[in-house]
């Protein structure tokens, strides 16, 4: 067997493993989410199928495969079938580029599927492609609610993609590379990026909530408002594929946040003093960090109400976008004219930025804007709050 063929076969094996791993994680994420939501609402959640409900995901999967696969008469058949495949394909691919350990730590192989120098750009491109899956799905259903959901979704996702792209610029200026390995390496030497880019992190976190269509930004599938949005006409496995894509995007977003801002697969360095080498334990640290962010996603879902559409757009365009630009300029100014202060000064500036974000957000601003009664002319056809 020639050398290159062996390399490609190993990559194929790793790709299949990553995909199967992600699908299993997705299945159990649905269970964990339901259990946790149950805990937060003082009820047990699914606990009948198997011990502690552990077989519930398998039951759900088998059910969705054996359900009837309907295509509405008015639908565009080809696009209708392709849309969920595009959504899941882009979601799964995005995960493969994230490093899960140092080179050669996976039984002598590299613990990632592909390692592009333009890692972040490839990731942003793939998330943009995910918009196509949802919008085309909504459009091809040929029905009203899916179109509404698809339009809302595309507008929301592209708006917050700007915030996502711009909030990373400060980080890139500091590190000087777009490869995930370079960023993890930099953080191993200088401490986690969250210390110096907390504003960038908060903006990225908000944007990734919007990108993955999770509450409080889950307007595309707002059940109480537009049935199930782009999912209304989907049944059986195609519906499950869209759900899968959403959860896989969530896992990817968590892993990206862990990699870019929390040191990736490297654990906290001071623990090395207690147990030598603990911060290099393969995979463990990454999984812990991903689990933390996934918990955060669920926690927020159980806590916050959904935003209205105009609030969502206002927040994205008038707060996230300018603050991301401000963060960029601030970091640029600091790097160009750093005086005696080290990077910690940038951390303080960033924290000030987070405070500004809090103070400027709608929830806080009303505290001193007392005019809660709107003038008559402002009450437009959208109805009340």
């Amino acid at each position: 067997m020639p050398d290159w063929l062996a390399t490609l076969l190993i990559s194929l094996l790793k790709a299949v493993l990553v995909v199967l791993g992600l699908l299993t994680t997705f299945a159990y994420m649905t269970l964990i989410e339901r259990r946790l939501l149950g805990r937060m609402q003082l009820r047990p959640g699914p606990n009948r199928v198997g011990p502690m409900g552990l077989l519930q995901p398998a039951a759900d999967a088998i059910k969705s495969i054996f359900k009837e696969d309907l295509t509405v008469t008015l639908a565009d058949k080809l696009v209708y079938t392709l849309a969920p495949i595009v959504a899941i394909g882009m979601a799964l691919t995005a995960f493969g580029g994230l490093p899960a350990g140092p080179a050669g730590s996976l039984f002598g192989e590299n613990p990632w599927v592909y390692n592009l120098d333009t890692g972040i750009l490839a990731l942003l491109a793939l998330t943009s492609m995910g918009v196509y899956g949802i919008f085309l799905g909504g459009w091809a259903s040929g029905s009203k609610y899916p179109i509404l959901g698809g339009l809302r979704s595309s507008a929301q996702m592209i708006s917050y993609e700007l915030g996502m792209g711009l909030s990373l610029l400060g980080l890139l200026m500091i590190v000087g590379t777009t490869s995930f390995h370079g960023i993890v390496g930099w953080q191993a030497q200088n401490g986690p990026m969250i210390l110096f880019q907390s504003l960038g992190f908060v903006l990225f976190l908000i944007s990734s909530f919007a990108e993955t269509n999770r509450t409080p930004f889950d307007l595309p599938e707002a059940e109480q408002e537009i049935v199930a949005g782009y999912l209304t006409e989907y049944s059986a496995i195609k519906w499950a594929l869209f759900q899968m894509a959403e959860y896989v995007n969530m896992i990817t977003a968590s892993a990206v946040m862990a990699t870019l801002f929390f040191g990736g697969w490297k654990g906290p360095q001071f623990l090395n003093g207690l147990i030598p080498g603990i911060s290099d334990w393969p995979l463990i640290w990454l999984i812990v960090k991903i689990a933390f962010f996934l918990f955060l996603f669920i926690w927020v879902r159980a806590t916050l109400p959904r935003l209205r559409y105009d609030q969502l757009m206002r927040f994205g365009w008038k707060l996230v976008l300018p603050l991301a630009l401000a963060n960029t300029v601030m970091t640029a100014a600091f790097l160009a004219f750093r005086g005696s202060g080290g990077l910690w000064f940038l951390g303080v500036l960033s924290l000030a930025g987070v405070l500004a974000l809090l103070v400027l957000s709608d929830r806080v601003r009303v505290l001193w804007n007392q005019s809660s009664i709107r003038p008559e002319g402002d009450i437009v056809r959208a109805g009340g709050d």
Partner: protein, 131 residues
């Protein structure tokens, strides 16, 4: 700032790996759709295949029947293209920034200011107001 692993790496192989990952991911989707199409029951009826409209006959539904939606969505998409190109221009500058300072700083600020003019214009035009 390259690690030891990156030094011995061949870039073309990485792109091949990317394509493999993409194909496997799309393949999973195709297999799932096929499996469901083969295994599920097929007892469609006219009523069952109707679009959802709270039990009424859907009126004027369907792809390409000229459903109209607000122009706001179009405006947001255009603004996205403009600002996304800005981001695309900013990325190389950000990556090479530390080698180009302090000159790059003024360049970046000028660029941001030019875009802010456009941003203030769309704010004043109330493009971002959603009634």
């Amino acid at each position: 700032m390259r690690g030891g692993a990156d030094a011995e790496r061949r870039p073309t192989i990485e792109y091949a790996n990317f394509v493999i990952m993409l194909l496997v991911a799309l393949g999973i989707g195709i297999v799932a759709v096929l499996a469901s199409a083969l295994l599920g029951p097929k007892k469609a009826s006219r009523t069952k295949l109707m679009a959802y409209e709270s039990g009424n006959d859907p009126e004027r539904g369907g792809v390409g029947t000229g459903q109209r939606f607000p122009v706001h969505f179009y405006l947001v998409a255009m603004l996205f293209i403009i600002f996304d190109i800005e981001t695309a221009f900013f990325y190389p500058l950000a990556v090479a920034y530390q080698k180009l300072i302090p000159f790059a700083f003024f360049e970046a600020v000028t660029f941001v200011l030019l875009l802010l003019v456009g941003y203030v214009y769309i704010l004043k035009k109330k493009v971002l107001e959603w009634a």
